[in-house]
């Protein structure tokens, strides 16, 4: 195996008295699809928030391609090449679908307040270029017809696709996906599974949090199971499927429900 792209070690975070993440360590290899699973409240989304600088951990470190992530503000994390989608898609609702994707190109853009205001030093050319690139991305995603629509009007399945297209526009090395299949029907879930595999084939590493077990089992290279903020198990899908501790944790949750 090559050098890991992302390495977490000793990551801990508590809210008040609740230990949300406790001494978690794992690696994500380059061009891997890795899934974080676990019962509700296992700390999966918290880990995403710690990695992206939204929350600050009590202890631990996370290195990404040799850079320490902990302590960086969210936009600096994005600069290093980490993009993210959210459990409930966070689109810019008052902007059009195309504009949403164009915001994804923010990092590669060069124009600033002054050059954009006066349309000098290639600001217009850059604007045209990114509009075309974003449009092409929407066409690939089959969303070209929606380009001019306000994002607020889209149904949940299309919101997810736009969000992914926007995250990819930032040309990330690592994509964090928080429950990409949440709220989708079976057909849409299959499409998302296909999309995730296509994203990997473009050379992008994917770390996802997901509840849909069949999706996780079918696309993941590796699975990490969390329970109560702790690492419970880690391994290939077929190993996780038969792991007794994992089964116990999940059965426990179902009994609670």
């Amino acid at each position: 195996m090559s050098r890991p792209l992302l390495t977490l070690s000793g990551l801990s975070k508590s809210f008040g008295g609740l230990q949300a993440v406790s001494d978690v360590a794992f690696d994500v290899q380059e061009r891997q699809i890795k899934a974080l699973i676990g019962p509700n409240g296992a700390g999966k989304t918290t880990i995403f928030n710690l990695l992206t600088g939204v929350l600050h951990p009590d202890a631990g470190s996370a290195t990404f391609g040799g850079h320490e992530l902990i302590g960086l503000p969210p936009h600096r994390v994005a600069c290093l090449g980490i993009s993210r989608t959210f459990q409930t898609s966070l689109l810019f609702d008052q902007m059009t679908v195309l504009e949403n994707v164009m915001v994804g190109h923010h990092l590669s853009g060069r124009s600033n307040m002054l050059t954009a205001a006066l349309r000098i030093f290639g600001a217009s050319a850059e604007e045209r270029e990114y509009r075309e690139v974003a449009m092409a991305a929407l066409e690939r995603a089959g969303l070209a017809d929606l380009a001019g629509r306000p994002a607020a009007e889209l149904p949940i399945g299309q919101r997810r696709l736009v969000e992914v297209a926007r995250a990819l526009a930032a040309e990330p090395k690592l994509l964090l996906m928080d429950e990409p299949a949440a709220g989708l029907n079976m057909r849409e879930t299959d499409a998302i599974a296909e999309l995730i595999q296509e994203i990997r084939s473009r050379g992008i590493t994917v770390l996802l949090v997901e509840h849909d077990m069949s999706l996780v089992m079918s696309i993941s290279d590796e699975i990490l199971v969390l329970d109560g903020g702790r690492r419970l198990a880690e391994g290939l899908p077929k190993e996780i499927r038969t792991d007794e501790r994992v089964l116990a944790a999940y059965l426990g949750e179902e009994a609670d429900d």
């Binding site: 993009s83 609702d93 006066l118």
Partner: protein, 354 residues
């Protein structure tokens, strides 16, 4: 068949890309129409109201200044989602800096305008940088403070500003040897409105650009914008500085206008509030909102002016009623009405064809 399709193309474009290009073209057309109206308005007034047209020009110059102020504030409120309760302070800094430098120290007005711009932007940066690092409406509170402090300083530092007695003998602006003497004159009207047009186009450019989209994005979802690499705090500060720069330019233009005299009253808390009202009443986050807001408020004030004592009662009442009825602003309300009319019209004309 082909002819029919061609004719319908502008109204129902074949695909989204064309539709969007069409919308962008429409904005250019709107700006063009606006430019033409601005250009011919004095001529129309001169022809229709030869007796009091100078009074109307004077009003139009003030609408222009208010429009510059409101457009700057609109960038901050409608696009960056932040409120300033002290924008009159930046207006005052612009006016008094260029007024003092030209009247007391004999500077060239253009150099003074630049100096005022630099000073105002610096003050805005100094206030905005710490206040915008925090979540919540800290900028509103900080600007409220700055607004009143600047107003008090203008009133009390009499050796520098002239205080309530006023700052006198401010020279007029000149361009290539031409002197823009009085705002009761078409020259000054065109001079101010040239700035209005320029600053409106700059605003339209900004909004449809990388930094403009970053601002609108962070207004919608700060978290999502950050995860795409937008330095949200930094962009808010920049938007605030730009909006202060607009106010500073308006201030300089005011200082060198007709009276060539400055007094503290136009730069106090009430002006900050009036500007806020123009932006919200017109419609935050729209290109034409500030135009509608500035025209409406100036018009209401001028209409009510003769009715002393009752003017502010009616003004307060109108403010409440308009905001309750149209919380999204007049520009959106008017746009909805316009689209409805257009829809009705196109339907009835289609009916005639068939």
């Amino acid at each position: 068949m082909a002819a029919v399709e061609e004719r319908q193309a502008p109204r129902e474009p074949a695909n989204e890309a064309e539709a969007m290009a069409h919308r962008r073209r429409m904005q250019k057309v709107q700006l063009g129409v606006f430019l033409i109206i601005v250009a011919v308005l004095p001529l129309v007034l001169q022809a229709m109201r030869p007796n009091d047209y100078r009074y109307y020009l004077h009003i139009l110059v003030f609408i222009g200044l208010n429009l510059i102020l409101a457009t700057g504030l609109n960038l901050l409120m409608g696009y960056a989602g932040q409120v300033s309760l002290g924008h009159a302070a930046f207006y005052g800094l612009g006016a008094y800096t260029s007024g003092i430098l030209t009247a007391r120290y004999g500077w060239n007005p253009w150099a003074a305008m630049l100096a005022a711009l630099v000073l105002t932007c610096f003050v805005a940066w100094l206030v905005g940088k710490p206040a915008l690092r925090l979540k919540g409406h800290y900028l509103a509170m900080a600007t409220l403070g700055v607004g009143i402090i600047v107003a008090v300083v203008i009133r009390q530092w009499t050796s520098l500003t002239g205080g309530s007695a006023g700052l006198l003998q401010i020279p007029s602006m000149t361009l290539f040897g031409f002197e823009f003497k009085s705002n009761m004159d078409t020259h000054y009207y065109y001079f101010v409105w040239a700035f209005v047009m320029l600053l409106t186009i700059i605003f339209a450019n900004l909004v449809q650009s990388r930094p403009g989209r970053a601002l609108r994005a962070l207004h919608d979802s700060e978290l999502a914008a950050q995860t795409l690499g937008v330095d949200t705090a930094g962009f808010k500060v920049r938007a605030f500085v730009v909006s202060a720069a607009y106010a500073s330019i308006a201030g300089t233009l005011y200082a060198h206008s007709s009276m060539r005299f400055l007094s503290p009253t136009p730069f106090d808390f009430h002006t900050s509030i009036a500007l806020l009202v123009m932006v919200v009443l017109g419609g935050q986050g729209t290109l034409w909102g500030p135009v509608v807001g500035a025209v409406t408020i100036t018009f209401i004030n001028e209409t009510l002016r003769p009715y002393t004592n009752y003017d502010i009662v009616v003004y307060g009442l109108l403010l409440m009623i308009l905001m309750i009825v149209m919380p999204g602003g007049l520009a959106r309300g008017l746009a909805a009405l316009w689209n409805w009319l257009l829809d009705r019209f196109s339907r009835s004309s289609q009916g005639e064809q068939q």
